[in-house]
Symmetry: C2
């Protein structure tokens, strides 16, 4: 059993990572952080660095709680949704944790296409979280 | 703190109820089952009866585990999404559990409008589950 979360260096990504680590501790199962980010135009170096720091903190916290964890880098050229759903199936996941953006740049509420795919295609439960004010 | 689930007498509704009761036990918080079903053309008496039986079983299970629970009937004339998000806010919910249909009648993967609203409007995490083969 495991809890799966995608690595995304954004506010939503950090919120998802934090929630996923709580879920792994609560369920006492392994946390698998899947990194299928492909860089490119959305890549923000300062966000990525902040995320690395957050990840180190989460890992230290899981170590202290005795909860197993791993970071898995996937370079299969898949959409992130495919990678997450695939890893969840391979590792008999208790749940996948995803971050949702609260509003699009023009203020409209939307669900991103990756989020929709994961919600619809995952066979395990999917926990969707939003970024808080401090993320 | 609490776990919130909407009452819907369908396969997805039963899957959500079962998962919500597991989450309430895991987190050791109250389970609130919100009944904002308005009857009408979607009402299926045999599904509703099966759901009542499932609910009784879940309640007995929560009693045995010493986890508080309540069924709250809301007749505010709201959309179910509004009721669920509202109750979640009033009761400082740990999460809302919703059931997703795997496929529409024509086989297309879709997210229902209530599910989308809850995912986007809830300030707490939302756990989305699908019906299994035995639901």
């Amino acid at each position: 059993m495991s809890v799966i979360v995608g690595y995304i260096p954004t506010r939503e990504g950090r919120a998802a990572l934090r929630q996923a680590s709580e879920e792994a501790k609560l369920r006492n199962v392994k946390l698998i952080v899947v990194n299928s980010h492909r860089g490119g135009r959305d890549f923000d170096a300062s966000e990525a660095q902040r995320f690395e720091e957050e990840l180190a903190k989460v890992q230290a916290d899981l170590d202290a709680a005795g909860v197993e964890h791993e970071v898995r880098a996937l370079v299969r050229g898949n959409e992130p949704a495919e990678d997450l759903v695939g890893v969840a199936e391979e590792s008999d996941a208790s749940c996948i944790v995803i971050g949702l953006r609260r509003r699009s740049p023009i203020g409209k509420l939307i669900l991103g296409s990756n989020a929709q795919r994961i919600l619809l295609e995952a066979s395990c439960p999917v926990l969707a979280v939003k970024a808080g004010e401090n993320d």
